[in-house]
């Protein structure tokens, strides 16, 4: 018997029992629909995370710290890891190290990571935030190469400032771009007002920092004696011009290693502040004003990450490559996908039982027909093939329509989720992703499960005794 004839005969047999075939196939449709929507959620999440990595060029980013720090060991409370951090350090992460990094093959640029808390005041609105610094060259790369409003600073000595939309929101402003900007009732009650971005670009921003002011103790020593906890600090202010507004960030559109307030790297030294910059400074046991807490190294391509990392580590420094973390994240997503797939697979197992049940019923009904087929020359293998084909066709139809169902379900779920996200001010997110491998794999899986479910009924049909079958009423 030809394979084509077996398929045609299988289809014909299924057509003869339309309602039963429809109900059996519906089971597979629901199973595959559940499986596909679950797995597409996992792949969607993975894609969103990977996109953040790509959008922020994190695959070419390395963070150099004064010594090797294993964050996992630290988190697990491994004391030796902590001892390593606080131990005295010989190689300093200073300008000399910075120049050595820049000279390494594959390195595009290297600059110290500087971040410190400031107060910012614009048009009488005030808030507190971390201030970061970037070299002007970073304006060539995402996410800084395409700012929604204004532009990146052109020189490292410019008195320019980039401001993020979350900082603006803290200052009770929401950008009004391209017409009406809806403000939620909650924000409205908080006094949040919309502001055209053009009115902010070019506007002066006052950056206020705290510094140690020993002279205040001399001026009024009694004040400090009365309250010993009081710090002798004073505020210093420096003016910047807002040159651009950063892209909006949320849970799905992050901007790691950076701040929502950014000034040119060359301007940092003009800002008076305390001696430490960030948590790396504290962890790194920063020894002097000339050394840095951490240095950002950008390499030309992903293939440069490993050799540069090795070279920097051989100098006695610690290197944190985000690309390493992606492997861990991928492992996590694999577990998530498997767990989600398992939930969907349960539905498919139920569907498979439905197929077995339907086909056994079908064999009972068609016992005489099987006998007739054998009497005219049908072999056991051919009878088996006919029944397996029927199961396979159920699987194929179930797979195709299951994907359709899964797609509809994910579209609805995505629309509902984004409706709530929009209420929270989170940008539109594609939560589900149905890659080609998932579509093809789901159809193949549906066919495989159905054929597997059809194995026993098909074997039973093939084993039917033709003499008894021909007597069967």
């Amino acid at each position: 018997m030809r394979a084509f004839d077996a398929v045609a005969l299988g289809l014909d047999n299924l057509r003869r029992t339309r309602l039963r075939t429809f109900l059996t196939t519906l089971g597979v449709v629901i199973g595959i629909g559940a499986l596909v929507s679950m797995v597409s959620f996992g792949t969607g999440m993975q894609k969103n995370v990977s996109r953040v990595f790509y959008e922020n060029d994190l695959f070419t980013s390395l963070i150099v710290t004064p010594r090797k720090i294993d964050p996992n060991a630290m988190m697990s409370g491994d004391l030796s890891a902590l001892e390593q951090v606080v131990a005295p350090k010989e190689a300093a992460l200073d300008d000399s190290a910075l120049f050595q990094f820049r000279a390494l093959p594959g390195v595009m640029m290297a600059y110290p990571q500087i971040q410190f808390p400031v107060k910012i005041r614009i048009l009488g609105h005030e808030t507190e935030n971390q201030l970061g610094a970037l070299p002007a060259r970073m304006g060539e790369f995402p996410p800084y190469n395409e700012l929604p409003h204004g532009s990146f600073f052109s020189g490292d000595g410019d008195s320019c400032l980039l401001i993020g939309q979350s900082v603006l929101k803290k200052m009770k402003w929401i950008l009004r771009s391209g017409g009406f900007k809806a403000i939620s009732l909650e924000d409205s009650l908080r006094g949040v007002r919309s502001i055209p971005p053009d009115s902010l670009i070019g506007q002066d921003a006052e950056i206020i920092t705290s510094v140690m002011d020993v002279s205040s103790i001399l001026k009024n020593p009694w004040q400090y004696m009365a309250s010993p906890g009081r710090m002798p600090t004073a505020e210093r202010s420096i003016r910047f011009r807002i040159s651009g507004i950063l892209q909006k960030t949320d849970d799905f559109h992050g901007r790691p290693f950076s701040s929502e307030l950014i000034i040119p790297l060359g301007m940092v030294r003009h800002i008076p502040r305390f001696g430490f910059n960030n948590v790396w400074d504290l962890l790194g046991n920063k020894t002097s004003d000339e050394s840095y807490g951490s240095i950002y190294v950008r390499v030309h391509g992903f293939e440069d990450v490993a050799p540069v990392k090795q070279a920097v580590e051989s100098m006695g420094f610690g290197v944190f490559a985000i690309s390493d973390q992606l492997q861990e994240i991928r492992k996590g997503f694999l577990i998530l996908d498997t767990a989600l797939g398992a939930v969907g697979a349960i539905a498919l197992i139920v569907a498979a039982l439905g197929i077995i049940n339907t086909m056994i019923m079908s064999i009972l009904e068609r016992t005489r027909e099987i006998g007739i087929m054998k009497s005219v020359g049908g072999s056991e293998a051919e009878i088996r093939l006919i029944f397996l084909t029927e199961a396979g066709v159920i699987g194929l139809l179930g797979g195709v329509f299951g994907i359709l169902l899964g797609w509809i379900v994910t579209r609805i779920a995505n629309a509902v989720a984004n409706f709530y996200f929009a209420k929270e001010g989170i940008e539109h997110v594609e939560m589900f992703y149905m890659p080609l491998w998932l579509i093809c794999g789901a159809v193949a899986f549906a066919i495989a499960v159905s054929v597997l479910a059809g194995l026993y009924p098909a074997a039973r049909a093939a084993a039917v005794n033709p003499v008894e079958a021909l007597r069967h009423e």
């Binding site: 030809r2 007739i372 020359g377 072999s379 293998a381 003499v467 021909l470």
Partner: protein, 232 residues
């Protein structure tokens, strides 16, 4: 035995269960020559149908030997038995055994389907077989829309479409009125005259007397009489 197309030698078929052993066919020894019309007669339960099923390759002997067209059926594997049923023999039954949901043409095509005949050729051969049975206008009819005689003729067309050497007929007139039964017998006799070997099982020995050249009488699974018309 030169012309023997069927040879049975000490052929036995037992059916056993936990409680009893039933002998359906006991120590049968006979042969059938090519072109013979043999009537296998006997009372109900005498082993006639079992013998036909054994020759048709639907059943296997418990012991002894059965050779059809020179091939030992008892040693054949299921795949070979299927090939035997497809090409060596054609079978018709009392209850016609047509698939009710398929048309006359599709029922006949079924026998060619398992041989792997391409669809176009299959259709042509099946139509030709039905045409030769005088059913040209009934090809698209389902069995339920045909009379008993027409259904049996469809079954004969299906049995002969693969051009077998032997036609095995198990009570082919049992469900038909006397006039239609006679027509079917005439049809079988005509096929026999064209060279087809026919083995026909019937409980009514008289009805088949005028067309068969030889009668095998079975009683409790044993061959008790083997008569040829010239001898009768």
């Amino acid at each position: 035995m030169e012309n023997s197309i069927i040879e049975c030698d000490h052929l036995n078929r037992f059916y056993e269960n936990r409680y009893a052993r039933v002998t359906a066919v006991h120590e049968l020894c006979f042969s059938v020559n090519q072109g013979e019309f043999v009537a296998v007669v006997g009372r109900s339960g005498s082993g006639k149908s079992t013998l036909l099923n054994l020759i048709g390759g639907l059943d296997s002997p418990s012991s002894g030997s059965i050779r059809v067209l020179g091939k030992e059926l008892g040693k054949m594997k299921s795949q070979e038995l299927a090939r035997h049923r497809r090409h060596a023999v054609g079978m018709i039954f009392q209850s016609f055994n047509l698939i009710p949901s398929r048309t006359a043409l599709e029922n006949v095509e079924l026998a060619l389907l398992f041989g792997g005949t391409p669809k176009g050729e299959r259709r042509k051969l099946a139509a030709s077989a039905l045409d030769s049975m005088g059913l040209k206008d009934r090809m698209r009819h389902r069995p339920g829309e045909l009379s008993g005689g027409e259904q049996q003729r469809v079954a004969i067309a299906r049995a002969l479409v693969n051009k077998p050497a032997i036609l095995l007929a198990d009570e082919p007139t049992g469900n038909l009125d006397s006039v239609t039964a006679e027509k079917i017998l005439d049809l079988l006799a005509g096929l026999n005259r064209q060279g087809l070997t026919v083995l026909m099982v019937t409980h009514d020995a008289d009805s088949v007397k005028k067309v068969s050249g030889r009668t095998l009488r079975l009683l409790d699974g044993r061959l008790v009489e083997d008569t040829r018309r010239s001898q009768a």
